[in-house]
C-alpha cells in the first residue's frame, strides 16, 4: 500500500510500514469467488481490523461486509509452513464448521458491548458468562450486521477489533502454557488495566 493511502493506519508495534528498503508492504490479498462474492485475506488480526474500516469506506455501496473467518491459535514456526493455510478458507468442511459457530460468536460478543457499563455487567446472564469460560474453537466466524449507517457500523467494527484483540491475548497465553486462560480472564485483565 502507498504512504498517502495508509497514513491513518497505526500498528501497535512501532515498526515502520514504509521504509526506504521496502517502499510497500502487502497487507491483504483479494479474490473474487464470483461476481457476487469478494474476499480479503489477512495474515494477522491486527492487519484485518486496521484495514477493515479503510475497505468499508472505499467499497461503499458496491460491496457489503458479511462475515469474518479467523483462527484463534498461534502457529509453531518449526512445524508449520504458513503457506499451508493459504487455501484453508476454501475448505468445505471448515466452512460448515464455521457456519455452526456463528450463533455462538454473536453471543460471545455481547459482553464486550456491556463491559463499558458496570451496571450492565451485573446483568450478564450466567449463560453468557459460562460461554466466556469455554475454550475457544480453533476457527470462528463473526457475522456482521452492518446497516450502512456510520456511527452504528463504526461501533460494530470497534467491537470486532476488540473481540480479536482479546482472542489474540488468549492465544498468546495458551502459547505460554496457560491453557485454562479463556476470554473471561482476558476481559477481566483488560478491565483491571483500564481501571487502575
Amino acid at each position: 500500500m502507498r504512504r498517502d493511502e495508509i497514513k491513518e493506519l497505526r500498528f501497535l508495534t512501532e515498526i515502520p510500514l514504509i521504509s526506504p528498503i521496502a517502499p510497500t508492504v502487502l497487507l491483504s490479498i483479494f479474490g473474487f469467488l464470483s461476481k457476487k462474492i469478494l474476499f480479503a485475506d489477512f495474515e494477522s488480526f491486527e492487519r484485518a481490523y486496521l484495514v477493515m474500516p479503510f475497505l468499508y469506506k472505499w467499497f461503499g455501496q458496491f460491496a457489503q461486509l458479511k462475515h469474518a473467518d479467523f483462527f484463534n491459535s498461534l502457529f509453531d514456526k518449526k512445524i508449520t509452513n504458513k503457506k499451508v493455510f493459504n487455501d484453508v478458507f476454501n475448505n468445505k468442511v471448515l466452512q460448515n464448521n464455521l457456519k455452526a459457530r456463528q450463533e455462538r460468536i454473536d453471543l460471545i460478543c455481547m459482553p464486550f458491548v456491556m463491559s463499558y457499563d458496570k451496571a450492565s455487567q451485573k446483568a450478564l446472564s450466567t449463560s453468557i458468562y459460562s460461554e466466556l469460560q469455554k475454550p475457544l474453537p480453533q476457527t470462528e466466524r463473526y457475522q456482521f450486521m452492518l446497516q450502512g449507517e456510520q456511527p452504528e457500523d463504526d461501533f460494530q467494527m470497534l467491537i470486532f477489533a476488540y473481540s480479536l484483540m482479546l482472542r489474540e491475548l488468549v492465544a498468546r497465553k495458551h502459547w505460554q502454557g496457560e491453557n485454562n486462560y479463556q476470554l473471561c480472564n482476558a476481559l477481566k485483565e483488560i478491565e483491571e488495566l483500564t481501571t487502575h
Binding site: I15, L33, D41, A63, H67, F70, S73, F75
Partner: protein
Amino acid sequence: MKKDARDFISLDTGEPYQPVRLTFQINNYDGLIAKLSILKCIKFKNTLSA
C-alpha cells in the same frame, strides 16, 4: 513446560500470524471494479483460482 515465545510465526510488523478472511457481498461488480481502480494501493492480477 512453557514454549519459547519466539517460536510462533510472526510477521514483519511484529504481530503473530493468525489468518483472517473477510467476505464481502458484491452489489455492483462493475462499480466496485471502477472504484478499486482509483486506488493506487491495489494491484490487479489475473489468476486461474482464488
